[in-house]
Symmetry: C2
Subunit: 395 residues, 2 copies
Amino acid sequence: MSSKPATFDGAPPPGHINFGVGQPSADALPLDLIRQASEHFLASAQPLELNYGVREGDERFRDALAAFLSRHYDSPARAESLLLTAGNSHALDFVCTTFTRPGDTVFVEEPSYFLAFQVFRDHGLNIVGIPVDENGMRMDLLEAELARTTPVLIYTIPSFLNPGGQSLSAERRRRLVQLSEQQGFLIVADEVYQLLSYYGPAPVALGSLAEQQASAQLENGGGQDSGRGSILSLGSFSKILAPGLRLGWIQAPPDLMARMLDNGSLNSGGSFNHYASHLVRQVLEQGMQDAHLEHLRELYRRRVEAMDQALHHHLADLARWQKPQGGYFFWLQLQQDADSEALRQQADAFRTGFQPGPKFSSTGAFKHCLRLSFAHYNEDDISEGVERLAALLQA
Amino acid sequence: MSSKPATFDGAPPPGHINFGVGQPSADALPLDLIRQASEHFLASAQPLELNYGVREGDERFRDALAAFLSRHYDSPARAESLLLTAGNSHALDFVCTTFTRPGDTVFVEEPSYFLAFQVFRDHGLNIVGIPVDENGMRMDLLEAELARTTPVLIYTIPSFLNPGGQSLSAERRRRLVQLSEQQGFLIVADEVYQLLSYYGPAPVALGSLAEQQASAQLENGGGQDSGRGSILSLGSFSKILAPGLRLGWIQAPPDLMARMLDNGSLNSGGSFNHYASHLVRQVLEQGMQDAHLEHLRELYRRRVEAMDQALHHHLADLARWQKPQGGYFFWLQLQQDADSEALRQQADAFRTGFQPGPKFSSTGAFKHCLRLSFAHYNEDDISEGVERLAALLQA
């Protein structure tokens, strides 16, 4: 009835090409597929499916999700290891409520996703950044920091880091898990980009390593030899289906699952997002998610190529970058004396935009860096936007 | 594809009539209405409506909700005073994250909703119970407690208390707001039963009083004379539409709204439940919520009458109770030496059930009390269940 348009926070003005927007474009949002899923669910739905759900999330949804993850991750996923969440931002908040207390310290990659920092600050947590290189978080610097401080958790985006695009190497993944088990901190792995791998398989998911911890606990009956679980893998349908559904999951071993299921909000409200799970169950069961994922990989690979080419064409002398193998982002390093925050102020005049580097730092570093998302625009717009960016940098 | 049934935590075995279940019955869950809303939304939806939403919640949804509340509450609601939540349990957790720190004290009604206690404990809060009488929280005892301790917030269910069914009188509402403004604590009003009034209008909603605080702030430009806001009114579609949608709202004045919009999880994820808000917007705009509310009031009024009659018939000599004027619950007081927890253990043998009184106490009191929900069963089942309950009490 109302004619007001749907919008989002920070939506750019018409005609602007703002690479700061880390959101899918309209043609990556599968409305027809959601329509089919909805019709299929509602055709045979029962009234009680509109009631409160079980805390873990509907069993049929978790079965379908486990089958999906078993196809796409490297090892079988158990439905029992999966907790339904209302998306990754909610999951991160929920993990903080469940496992942390104000004054605790969390380690993050330096640079890392800036809005995660705000969630940690909401919970009164101290943030310590561990620098990354092209293989992700540096284990030598992590171990040096661990000698000084034991964090309650390490927040990592192991595959296709936001903002850097690089992935934690297989060897470092093993080392990180080993350290977490030895020293008793949690690994909170934000794996929302895990399935958005454009040039071959992604490194093994931390979710799969969580299943190994689950196996150890289940085989040993949860006794002393079972080992304490340390991995929480956070996944989401926001990047592979539709953010507005607010649906995701946490994959974790039984001991950590038990602690999460004790949560008061979950006990009171039942499943964190029951209705959305009915729709996504249809999407999963009918193979529509697999097909859409394949479509997205092709769509985004073309955008990676377009941005890489445009950068080479317009910015080869002004910036350095690594072409990302997956995810949403390019991370540009300008000359050392560049000021990305000042540039951002001037970007509107060039009808372009980006996220300035210091946002991604726990200490305000990376002043000479900026993040570009290629997810929200098609190839033509990407070329045009990079040209405008070059004009800004040369102004 | 899977044949597993939808279920919920604590679902009673077949043939049992468990008045412990505080959930709507199948015939109170309007599947056809959700189907219509979904079809209507999807017929003209745009792909970007599947994207992240704005933090406050979709503007069209909040306009429709404000119009609905303006019709059903005593005074006009502003869309600007409404924040979309993922249901009341989520809202309560979110309020704790935003406004409290571990070690803070919260006051609750004694007795009150037991699962709220668990949310407060998740956040490390101390709980102090303020006794109620037939007019709700006793202001003399509240003021005596306030002389000793200033709480960060008072959690109240002002209309149709869970479990007692009584409502806070108009005079006490005014006094409570006055005290909150003078002493600087928040009122967190759980108003999920506000619209489920079966024998005439409910007392004025705290949400309407929050609008008065909003007016004062808006008229005075938010300056010193504007007064600090103290009221957060929590509403939900769980009790008037469908719990599985996980959709609710917080009605609050601008200063409190600003603090909530700073939340990291909200900034990262956009609207707390964007997709569900599209469906419920249709329900609101097309008047379907008004009609369904009228249906529910009639349905539940018949169940109140059925339970009251059955109690008079079977339990007049064994228990005392007040017929509730709204909400979901009867609160029974047995003789002083009764043990409702022991009785609960024996209830399965009688194929009946209830929630024992001590659950609703911050100190384990009310051993001789029990809560019956009339919402989950029709009149015949209610009569039969109360007969079984009488048999249990006389065993």
